[in-house]
Symmetry: C2
Subunit: 341 residues, 2 copies
């Protein structure tokens, strides 16, 4: 009887501000043999996402907080290596929320068999996964862009933002994206973004406001909000009447240790009759079939491209996560857990 | 040939912060005889409204700024005293935007004949006028309250807020209203508001937040925003998932001379999937027939009541306007320009 050792990342303590390596703990567990109806899964890829920062806090929110001493959770792609469950065979690729660990035993109920339709398996943690559906639902259902309108996207070089930009282009919009650094901006241009703003070149609010105004001479009709802070101030200033602001994230504030004042120009919501609307992808799973159909078409037509930033090894997962907050990723941030993946 | 003298209030200088008496100027003008096709109107009532503060600033907005040296403008009810226009006869009551003056000559194109349907004429500056339609459109079209939901209204004892409260009750909601002072709160209770918050008893943000939480044990589904500032912070904190915030006004900030930080808890927009939507009544004039029909019914059934606070004489119009910012009005603030009205 063989045993399987799985290394996993646990939450050791709740971060104050920017998480530090000591908030995480690498541990090894010995997995039992899969029992009747159970499968053993070895993870190949795991996702790190900004929303996970919220789960590290002990507060009521739309997902329950991570527990100290327990492994973290998140999307992962794994391969079934042993199965006593008729629904799964060794070699099957599966999606689960059991990330942050190398392997696990499951009764199958938290597994989703993955048919890659010819896409790389890891795309299902990014452009073809939750980040992709987030972009699709947030832009199309909440943002409601019309051809000819101007769409401004913050965090534009991220997993969600870069797909928002490309869908907006497909829908006939002019697209302006903000990202940190000239390399990211150059990539955005290469995938069709009309105008980019390197926000790191505009460290003060007035400068960012001026840059956005200059980049959007006809104003902004849809602002896809990933960042918050000065980006929201600048967007409120540049919005056109009846503009829409789908609020996907506000990463600039996720590591705040004290309340940070919000935008001083909220009055624009009235004067310009703006709609500012938050959303969470899990409320929009009904769009999944449409999304997968459209995405497959767009990818086959070369209209959607994506990038990934990959760290290797479970021991580097915390560092990969932390890079999300310093802009260390272009496109989807992934951790490769199996060298053979 | 007789001449008519009309006293009028002009903008003498643009206010910085809270307007002061010296920002206004009382002047007399001699009106010409009405020419062919013209009518002479003597105003009986004029309205002062918070939105007028915005027009005193020299900025681009949804209504053009007032011009220095020119009379202010706003809704007024007047009576035709002489007419060379076949559409108007002496004695006709008319609505116009030519407030802040005792009389004026018009070609009739900016006049609307007023059929009071048995209501007092001055109600058409308040509950049956633009403030009334503001409440109706903002609550029903933007807020979309459902029976059994909780509606929180700030500025609840004002012209708009007090009608919002009553319409929400008619629609089967639990209604919590915030107002300044125990007398206003008592009036709100007398018109059916379930719970009131005297915000003057909660001068700090945490206290207001606690008061709202205590008053809304089942959370807030619709927050009708008239005030901004701490009220918005408290509402964001108390909102339920999928709540709506129709943004009608943010009077707490209208006299700010420097940017005032916005709410620190905007992240609730994401976590709770809130919709925060500004509106302006003039975009919703298509609802006017529905509004007038519903209001007439509700008034006849005793389900809608209103109050007015009346100052007398054009010379007191600036003081009446200023009282809006110190809570000196309960219900609609009006200036009576004709002693016989």
């Amino acid at each position: 009887m063989s045993t399987t050792i799985s290394r996993e990342i646990r939450l050791k303590s709740r971060p104050e501000g920017l998480p530090r390596p000591e908030n995480f703990e690498l541990a090894s567990v010995e997995l039992p043999e899969p029992g009747p109806g159970e499968v053993l899964v070895r993870n190949r890829w795991m996702s790190v996402d900004p929303y996970m920062r919220g789960r590290m806090m002990d507060r009521k929110s739309y997902v329950p907080p991570f527990q100290i001493g327990k492994p973290l959770e998140g999307h992962a792609v794994g391969k079934v290596v042993a199965s006593n469950n008729p629904d799964f065979a060794p070699g099957d690729l599966v999606l689960s929320m059991n990330g942050w660990r190398e392997a696990f035993v499951s009764n199958g109920q938290d597994l989703q068999k993955l048919d890659t339709h010819g896409l790389p398996e890891e795309a299902f943690l990014g452009v073809a996964g939750m980040p992709g559906l987030t972009a699709y639902a947030g832009l199309l259902r909440i943002g409601e862009p019309k051809a000819g309108e101007t769409v401004f996207v913050s965090g534009a070089a991220g997993a969600v933002g870069s797909l928002v930009c490309q869908i907006a282009k497909i829908k006939g919009c002019r697209v302006v994206g903000s990202a940190g650094g000239e390399a990211k901006c150059a990539w955005l241009k290469s995938i069709g973004v009309d105008e980019t703003i390197n926000y790191k070149a505009h460290p003060d609010q007035r400068s960012l406001m001026a840059a956005l105004k200059a980049a959007t001479p006809e104003g902004v009709d849809v602002y896809f909000e990933n960042v918050g802070g000065d980006h929201l101030v600048a967007a409120l200033d540049a919005m056109n009447n009846f503009g829409r602001i789908p609020v996907c994230g506000m990463i600039s504030g996720y590591n705040d240790t004290a309340p940070r004042p919000g935008p001083w120009n909220l009055f624009n919501i009235i004067g310009k009759r703006l709609r500012v609307q938050g959303f969470i992808v899990s409320d929009h799973l009904d769009l999944l079939p449409d999304f997968m159909r459209d995405l497959a078409k767009w990818v086959s037509e070369g209209k959607v491209k994506w990038q990934e930033t990959v760290e290797e090894g479970i021991e580097n997962a915390p560092a990969a996560f932390l890079k999300l907050f310093s802009g260390g990723n272009t496109g989807k941030m992934l951790v490769k857990l199996d060298k053979d993946a």
